[in-house]
């Protein structure tokens, strides 16, 4: 990728990125009170004895993303895809290395800012503000957001608290709010599969629209078809390491051989290096 073609403009540069999670309360003593006391008394046995475990979620990943690219991130569960995405967005601090970006990349999603006890109407407002939209912007987009979500198709639901929505309805409203904003660098984390079939179609179209307007798109997905449809380049992460980086078809072929070939003996065993990926 580092060929001399300086005509390509980089938008995201990851330089040997390491990301480490520290997890409290997973001490060897299984968390019983006596074990906790024991740990407090024997101070010098460092972090591990104090119940702090570190999880090395991303190891030494480097890549350069250019304007106009749509990049897929693939890998088995817990391989560090979402973690890497959060670090690109500047939401998770890196342990070593650097991530350089052009402007402020944003994750597609506002779930965390919404409140179940508020009406859909207020959540549209709150979610928009949380994403950094101005009040005027929200006002002018409000109708569009509600129409897109289709919440009002079955009655006046937008003025009811979100806790009264079915899970599908809530997911649709969340997506509609999140997709209302344009982004320079857009990061999508498996957001495609929400709602019923007709809404899925609409949301896929909306993501394509966002993609065309955005400079660079990153997509995390387990759906190889949507990766094929959307991306022209794929990064394959496995156990936090960047295994392959190349054109979609080449990488997917290797990846499918890897996952498909082991499908028979892949029993639901706990992975030794489970990476907690906060949703």
């Amino acid at each position: 990728m580092a060929d001399s073609s300086d005509s390509k403009i980089p938008t995201v540069v990851a330089d040997r990125v390491d990301i480490v999670y520290r997890v409290n309360g997973t001490g060897a003593g299984r968390g019983s009170a006596t074990a906790a006391l024991n740990r407090m008394l024997r101070r010098k046995q460092a972090e591990k004895a104090a119940g702090v475990r570190t999880v090395h979620a991303v190891r030494g990943v480097s890549f350069v993303a250019y304007r106009g690219e749509a990049i897929g991130l693939i890998g088995t569960n817990g391989s560090g895809k979402s973690t890497l995405l959060k670090a690109v967005a500047g939401l998770l601090p890196v342990e070593n290395g650097r991530i350089y970006t052009d402007g402020q990349p944003s994750l597609l999603g506002v779930n965390a800012a919404l409140m179940r006890d508020l009406t859909g109407e207020r959540n549209v407002h709150l979610g928009g503000l949380a994403m950094g939209m101005s009040r005027e912007e929200i006002k002018s987009r409000y109708e569009e957001i509600v129409d897109f979500s289709g919440i009002n198709e079955k009655g006046d639901f937008i003025t009811l608290p979100m806790r009264t929505y079915s899970s599908g309805m809530a997911a649709r409203l969340r997506f509609s709010i999140a997709a209302a904003k344009d982004h320079d660098v857009l990061l999508v984390d498996e957001a495609l599969a929400t709602g019923d079939r007709s809404f899925q179609k609409r949301s896929e179209a909306r993501i394509r629209e966002l993609r065309e307007r955005a400079g660079t798109v990153f997509l995390v997905s387990h759906n190889n078809k949507s990766i094929r449809d959307t991306c022209d380049r794929v990064l394959w992460l496995e156990r936090g390491e960047l295994l392959m980086d190349g054109p979609t078809e080449d990488v997917l072929k290797e990846y499918e051989a890897f996952t498909g070939g082991t499908a028979k003996d892949r029993k639901p065993q706990p992975k030794p290096k489970a990476v907690p990926v906060p949703s």
Binding site: T76, K86, L91, Y100, S106, M115, G132
Partner: protein
């Protein structure tokens, strides 16, 4: 630890660019480090840009609090009223803590103290959990993290405004009519709000690193409450006891006591300046400035680290 997964195939022709080039490449195209901490001035500007979010978030939290209750938002007023009634029952009727205060002044004295102290107390408690309790939000969206503690302090200010309605009812019920001096409440509470926000910022940073503070702080705050003269007058309590006079001054200069005294001074006619320590307004402003500035800078210093659990 044995690996369950098969060893993945080796990467064919690692396409990683020469690593020394990456920083230079980024610099050449003017890319900036993602998630880096902005300068203090820039941070203030970003925070100001998010003022609508801060306000909307605080109001949303306030509304969501009672949205499942049958009486709904009526609880905003009923909760402080019940709170004051409990304290009056215990300290006014059972223990008789109204030493040195005329009987008819004691009820407004106590109610004011409870409300004003609760304002600081709940701001600190909300501050401790402002980051650690909202990690999902911190890890999903980009905004200056100080928005959260500031927003929680603002929520408590709005809660206090409901309490002030109760206070006015209590005042009128106990026979005093609204007077111009009541307006002094406004600067006093504004200074207290700045002070509370500073504390919330400090504890938000500490709580993000050590969530255990959420368990510890209630006890610290209760001790502070009993030492600040919420239900008794500090000089009256110390009067006739074998304590140096400066001790009364020191106890009265503690920020919680200062703000309580100022609001009482403004609201209650009989609570004249003789109850106040010297230089009371200077101390009120000083505490607010000290906590506000230190809290903001201290919080900003760790801005880029709040996403880490």
């Amino acid at each position: 630890m044995s690996q369950v997964l098969h060893t993945p195939p080796p990467a064919p022709g690692a396409p990683t660019p020469a690593e020394a080039d990456l920083a230079a490449l980024a610099a050449r195209h003017g890319l900036t480090v993602s998630g880096a901490r902005p300068s203090l001035g820039e941070y203030v500007r970003q925070l100001w840009d998010r003022r609508h979010f801060i306000l909307a978030f605080s109001r949303a939290k306030l509304t969501a609090q009672y949205s499942q209750a049958k009486l709904g938002q009526l609880w905003q007023v009923a909760t402080p009223l019940l709170n004051a009634a409990v304290y009056f029952f215990i300290f006014g009727l059972l223990l008789g803590a109204n030493r040195g205060i005329p009987k008819d002044v004691y009820v407004p004295f106590l109610v004011t103290g409870v409300f004003v102290f609760t304002f600081t107390q709940s701001s600190v408690l909300a501050g401790v959990r402002a980051i650690s309790g909202n990690l999902g939000l911190v890890r999903a969206l980009h905004f200056p993290r100080a928005s959260l503690p500031v927003s929680f302090a603002l929520q408590q200010l709005q809660q206090l405004l409901f309490s002030m309605i109760v206070l006015v009812i209590v005042m009128v019920a106990s026979g005093s009519l609204p007077a111009l001096s009541w307006l002094l409440v406004v600067p006093a509470l504004l200074l207290q709000f700045v002070f509370n926000t500073g504390l919330a910022l400090v504890f938000a940073r500490m709580g993000s690193k050590t969530p255990d503070l959420a368990q510890l702080m209630p006890f610290v705050l209760r001790t502070w409450m009993y030492a600040s003269g919420v239900m008794f007058s500090i000089p009256a309590m110390l009067h006739g006891k074998d304590v140096p006079t400066w001790l009364a001054d020191v106890l009265q200069w503690n920020p919680a006591a200062i703000y309580m005294d100022l609001v009482r001074f403004a609201m209650i006619d009989e609570y004249g300046s003789s109850y106040l320590p010297p230089h009371v307004w200077a101390f009120a402003a000083g505490w607010a400035l000290l906590a506000g500035v230190i809290g903001f800078v201290y919080f900003w210093k760790a801005e880029e680290k709040y996403g880490r659990g």
